[in-house]
């Protein structure tokens, strides 16, 4: 049995690089240091898997050779006038580079999953910039950590432990002890409340409230965690201060905070369900921090206001830099979505939603983004790489996607593969194939090959290169 150490986890944008994988006879036996998501991937990647190339013939999917599947896929793409090439965030940077070459060759529109994730954040960053840093700096120095519209407990389970509140940094210590003592105190008071309500129910006295009041903030030199969200997530349980915002109220709250840190008075009692006193407390915390960071999630990008919410958050960060050091970072979802944006940008100048139909790259989210292309039914074929839009796109978009010829390159048997015309199985990047990925703070990390892929399953990069070659052959034949 071999132990492979320093494995980079191919699940979320944290890209934890301290995993240890136990391998015996080309089988993964166990994985250490991984979170629930990482462990689920390493231990179940083989389940529900398709290893044979499939092509739809007379309405039925038939097993074919790899060459035939690639030939059919290339034909679909070469004959389309405006194909959509979508996915890319769960594959390596090397494969994305080939994908961009293919998009240019077929004159299609290429988009990555940022489009329904942090696309609005990118639009906002292009408007107002982004004061950013690496996660290492935060781990060692940040004394105020704010998660806004983001729930790392569920989506990035090791983020808090590795980089923020629970991490032992060089200049800032984790808040483990404080959290544990609070947990003990709160569960004791809940128990007291239950006993009290039993007693009170017997009589006719009003019930006491369960809310623990009078929680005081820790001393100013200690690290503090603040969570702003519409529901009390498990991340919020850890927080020193939790601010509940009404759905769709983030923009108002952000702008109110901007006013407060400029010492302006608010003429209202509450903003989007948040009492002004709570906002004042938060504003004080922000101004008095020595190194603050806002991590924002899809709570800002997917709700009313979208890019404007993110813009307000970045402007708040900019304003705070008049008083102290403050930074902001999006919580990226897929392990290589940052890499997809980066490769798209160094190849075409634009991070996502790139249209090659004019022969040169064009970028206009709202027109060239995958959702809008599908919504308007513009694309006449599609290639999906390492993604499952049939599960993750709104209904109308999926209806238009499945009507047209569809080529899927994916190691999973996903819902999209189920309705495709050509399915080409690939190797899992980070488990069965090497590659480069970008962590959410734009640090590139190498993904390892831990086990051999099943026979006939090539990495995405190899498959895309073969398709590109065939597309070029078909095009040159047409031209001559």
């Amino acid at each position: 049995m071999d132990v492979i150490s320093s494995v980079v986890c191919p699940v979320c944008g944290c890209c934890c690089d301290d995993l240890e994988v136990l391998v015996d006879n080309n089988q993964i036996i166990d994985v250490r240091n991984a979170c629930a998501l990482g462990a689920a991937k390493f231990l179940n990647y083989g389940a529900h898997r398709n290893t044979k190339p499939l092509v739809r013939k007379n309405g039925k999917m038939v097993k074919v050779s790899l060459e035939e599947a690639i030939g059919r896929g290339a034909e679909i793409l070469a004959n389309a006038s405006y194909p959509l090439l979508y996915g890319w965030s769960s594959t390596s940077c090397e494969a994305i580079r080939v994908g961009l070459e293919l998009a240019e060759e077929v004159g299609g529109v290429i988009d990555n999953t940022s489009t329904i994730c942090h696309g609005p954040s990118i639009i906002a960053v292009q408007e107002v910039g982004l004061p950013a840093c690496t996660l290492g700096q935060i781990r060692h120095r940040a004394d105020l950590i704010i998660y806004w519209g983001s729930n790392p407990w569920s989506a990035h389970p090791r983020h808090i432990e590795r980089y923020t509140a629970l991490a032992e940094g060089r200049f800032q210590k984790g808040i483990w002890k404080r959290y544990l003592s609070r947990l003990v105190f709160e569960s004791a008071s809940k128990r007291r409340y239950r006993v009290a309500s039993l007693v009170f129910k017997a009589g006719s006295m009003p019930l006491p409230t369960a809310e623990v009041s009078g929680r005081s903030l820790p001393p100013s030199e200690e690290r503090k965690l603040v969570v702003v969200d519409v529901q009390k997530t498990r991340t919020a349980d850890l927080a020193d201060l939790f601010v509940r915002v009404e759905p769709g109220g983030d923009y108002d709250v952000l702008q109110a905070l901007r006013a407060l840190i400029r010492d302006e008075e608010l003429d209202v009692d509450d903003v989007a369900g948040v009492p002004v006193e709570t906002l004042e407390e938060l504003a004080d915390l922000m101004v008095n921090a020595r190194f603050g960071i806002i991590f924002f999630g899809l709570g800002l990008t997917m709700s009313v206001g979208r890019s404007r919410n993110v813009e307000a958050a970045i402007k708040l960060t900019r304003d705070l830099n008049k008083y102290t050091k403050f930074l902001i970072m999006p919580m990226r979802g897929h392990f290589n979505v940052t890499g997809a944006d980066t490769v798209f940008t160094w190849q075409t100048g634009y991070p996502y939603a790139v249209d090659f139909s004019h022969g040169y790259p064009r970028y206009n989210p709202g027109e060239t983004s995958a959702i809008d292309v599908l919504m308007k039914d513009d694309a006449d074929a599609a290639l999906v790489v390492a993604s499952d839009p049939v599960s993750n796109f709104p209904k109308k978009c999926v209806e238009n996607l499945v009507k047209k010829p569809l080529v899927v390159i994916d190691p999973h048997m996903s819902a999209t593969a189920l309705v495709a015309d050509v399915v080409i199985p690939s190797a899992f990047v980070g488990i069965e194939a090497e590659g480069t990925t970008y962590r959410m703070d734009h640090v590139p990390l190498p993904l390892k090959k831990i086990v051999e892929p099943p026979e006939g399953c090539l990495p995405d990069e190899g498959i895309l290169k073969m398709i590109l070659e065939r597309v070029r052959e078909i095009k040159s034949k047409k031209a001559s």
Binding site: K41, A47, I116, P120, P247, S303, I371, M375, M413
Partner: protein, 148 residues
Amino acid sequence: MAKLESLGRPDAGMGFILITGRTINQGCGKEHGKFSGEYLANVAVCEMNPEDMRRLNVKDGMNVRVTTEAGSVIVKAKKSRRIKTPGVIFIPYGPWANAVLKSESEGTGMPLLKGLKANVEPTWEEVSSLEDLLIKTYGSSKKVRLEE
């Protein structure tokens, strides 16, 4: 409550606000496979405030029909003490949530995935498996392959 009203509280039929998002169980279910029982059990659910459940006479684990402008879907109701604001419901990302989400992106490329007006009612109808959901929703347009 001003914000909830501005999002369209007045018409009584759509008295809920639908939020979609990630959960740890959705993330793990996804890795078990989209057609697995884990995925169905963790994603085809609608988390609700206990107060709302009492009002609608919905018990934990009962099926509910969630309807929006874009369509309707049947999911399992799940009591959540984390949703403190009455009128807010939560469905994890996935095909069931997407069956009721709108596609308009208002020029941003991003559809409104959090904060959509919705209606919830108890139902006896069963929750569809992913295959059945695909056939029901897209089956007529072409090709849903069922046999492995």
